[in-house]
């Protein structure tokens, strides 16, 4: 029972970052109706930039966070410009192909610019773990959960409480209707893309501080986690992505506790496969 609760708590803390990745995916997919496979790799660029800075300037946590987010934003601008805006007239699937070309580029870029495959990422390790009864809340997990929750609150405030957010949601709902109402859909799409990249960069900070290291494989990893969270949540629903991310996190940690580490990835990929296999006729199945 304690094991179950501990795994549940760990899962929620981990899942909160998956929710962030899922939100980033959903923002782009919802507004542009296109899939950004390079979402993970753009975050990868940010994390590597942050890692380089931390090596050159140890202990500078705030600049590292800033550089990580800036790196993800910069890579996001690149993807938006060449894989989305330049291909706006083409079928959605063409953007998807273009993003995997970018994926190859970004992954190669970080490998080239780094002295080793595995790069360290700083973590505020001086924070103590908190014990609540028999449940242990590790500091990196607490940081993931609280950070992700704060970012989500800010994002939802932006999307549901501001004029800008209303416009984004209007375009996601129906870009034709929004166009008729005088909204510049292309501009809104680019803006949503930047917001998503920034959210992705912040998610990258939280995840990397927990892992304390990063490899080029992180790009694929983040893309898969974000995509799974989005699809579990019904593809297109923002609250759904949050729930999907949490569910994925809990499933992973429960599997880890009860069956061991080697099953964890297997189960999370199987989950993604099942989601696709069991809902073949949903709107995201035929929409692209």
């Amino acid at each position: 029972m304690v094991d179950f609760l501990q795994a549940l708590v760990d899962g929620v803390m981990l899942g909160a970052t998956y929710s962030l990745l899922g939100l980033g995916f959903t923002l782009i997919f919802g507004v542009l109706r296109r899939l950004n496979l390079a979402f993970g790799p753009t975050i990868l660029v940010g994390i590597y930039a942050g890692s380089h800075l931390s090596l050159a300037w140890p202990g500078a946590l705030v600049p590292v966070v800033a550089v990580t987010v800036a790196g993800a934003l910069l890579a996001g601008v690149y993807v938006e410009r060449f894989s989305f805006r330049a291909l706006a007239r083409q079928a959605p699937v063409v953007s998807m192909i273009s993003t995997f070309a970018v994926w190859m580029q970004l992954q190669e870029l970080v490998s080239l610019l780094s002295p080793s495959r595995t790069m360290p990422y700083p973590s505020p390790v001086w924070l103590p773990a908190v014990a609540v009864g028999p449940i242990l809340l590790r500091s990196d997990g607490l940081l993931m959960w609280s950070g992700a929750t704060l970012i989500m609150l800010a994002l939802f405030a932006l999307l549901y409480r501001t004029r800008f957010g209303t416009t984004i949601r209007a375009v996601a709902d129906s870009s034709e209707a929004a166009t008729l109402m005088g909204v510049n859909v292309a501009m809104v799409g680019a803006a949503a893309f930047l917001v998503a990249s920034a959210v992705g960069g912040l998610a990258g900070v939280l995840i990397a501080q927990s892992h304390q290291q990063v490899t080029p494989y992180f790009g694929l990893w983040a893309t898969v986690k974000g995509m799974t969270a989005m699809l579990l949540g019904g593809a297109g629903s923002l609250p759904g992505a949050v729930v999907g991310g949490l569910a994925l996190g809990v499933v992973e940690t429960q599997t880890l506790w009860h069956f061991g580490g080697q099953w964890r990835d297997l189960v999370s990929y199987a989950l993604l496969f099942l989601v696709v296999a069991l809902s073949p006729r949903t709107r995201w199945g035929s929409g692209l």
């Binding site: 291909l87 998807m96 070309a101 190859m104 580029q105 080239l112 990929y269 696709v276 069991l278 995201w284």
Partner: protein, 299 residues
């Protein structure tokens, strides 16, 4: 022929099978990020057949392709219906599932003094049928290209048949294809099986060249590259993917000063090409014009 050149030929030949398998599914409107899964299924199965059960090289490789084709048919069970994003996500999950599952696959047997067979993350070593059968690497390279040539001719033949038309119809408008009575499901299952078999054939050929195969060979980048190859060459002809592979491995890689930047340049090439030619260099329209032009010359 220099050793480097022979190894280059072999790599292009093997990669071409995987690119061809991605191409087949692209014609059907499915973007697969999981063909690397069938590649390693073929590699492991062919390796088991020759190294553990003593099958000769050729039947072993053929069996590997057959097992991968069977895998493709089973994969079609849940994956024939999804398209677009759903298929992309599902195939990606499948490819990774295969890789992760192989990390846990231990199936070894005593062959002579050695333990042979898949050993989890250490992979499957000692697939030596090529070298014990006394075939030289150069002969093997020629053999691979012969097999590729035959496969290309067969693919071209199939694509010109009604089955090929059906594939393109499904790729363009699956509902319209169904409303003229096309047995869409049967066509999709056969294409997924065929694509699995092609990738598996590449895998079996690879395993016997490298003498080993490991879960890492199911890296998603293999699938991603295969898709890129199919695209850059163009969707109008089965030669498209071969052109893509040759351009990347043969051309870009042979410039040593580009060494580390290859993927950046190649990725940029794909990205730029998509803006001007979203269906690749030799797309359907180009091939149609070209064949008309050639026919006119003959008259």
């Amino acid at each position: 022929m220099s050793d480097y050149f022979v190894s280059l030929l072999i790599r292009i030949g093997i990669e071409a099978f995987v690119a061809l398998s991605a191409y087949l599914l692209l014609l059907m409107g499915r973007m697969s990020f999981g063909q690397q899964g069938f590649f390693v299924i073929g590699a492991y199965a062919a390796g088991l057949a020759t190294a553990l059960y003593g099958m000769p090289l050729l039947p072993g490789v053929a069996l590997g392709a057959l097992v991968a084709a069977l895998g493709g048919a089973l994969f079609a069970g849940p994956m024939a219906a999804p398209r677009g994003l759903a298929f992309a996500a599902g195939s990606l999950a499948f490819g990774e599932l295969v890789r992760v599952a192989l990390l846990d696959l231990y199936f070894q047997g005593q062959v002579g003094p050695d333990l042979i067979g898949p050993a989890g993350p250490d992979g499957f070593r000692g697939i030596r049928a090529l070298f014990t059968s006394g075939v030289s690497v150069t002969t093997y390279a020629v053999g691979i290209w012969l097999a590729l040539g035959v496969t290309l001719l067969a693919t071209a033949f199939f694509l010109r048949s009604r089955w090929g038309e059906a594939l393109r119809m499904i790729g363009e408008d699956e509902e319209a294809a169904a409303t003229v009575g096309l047995p869409v499901r049967r066509v999709k299952v056969s294409a997924l099986a065929g694509a699995g078999g092609l990738a598996g054939l590449g895998g079996g050929l690879f395993a016997h060249y490298a003498t080993y195969v490991e879960p890492g060979h199911a890296d998603v980048m293999l699938g991603v590259h295969s898709l890129a190859y199919a695209f850059i060459g163009g969707l109008g002809t089965p030669l498209g993917p071969i052109i893509g592979v040759a351009l990347d491995i043969g051309f870009l890689e042979s410039f040593r000063f580009l060494a580390g930047y290859r993927m950046i340049i190649f990725g940029g090439l794909v990205m730029g090409l998509l803006i001007v030619r979203p269906r690749g260099l030799l797309d359907e329209v180009a091939v149609h014009r070209l064949s008309r032009f050639l026919m006119r010359g003959r008259r």
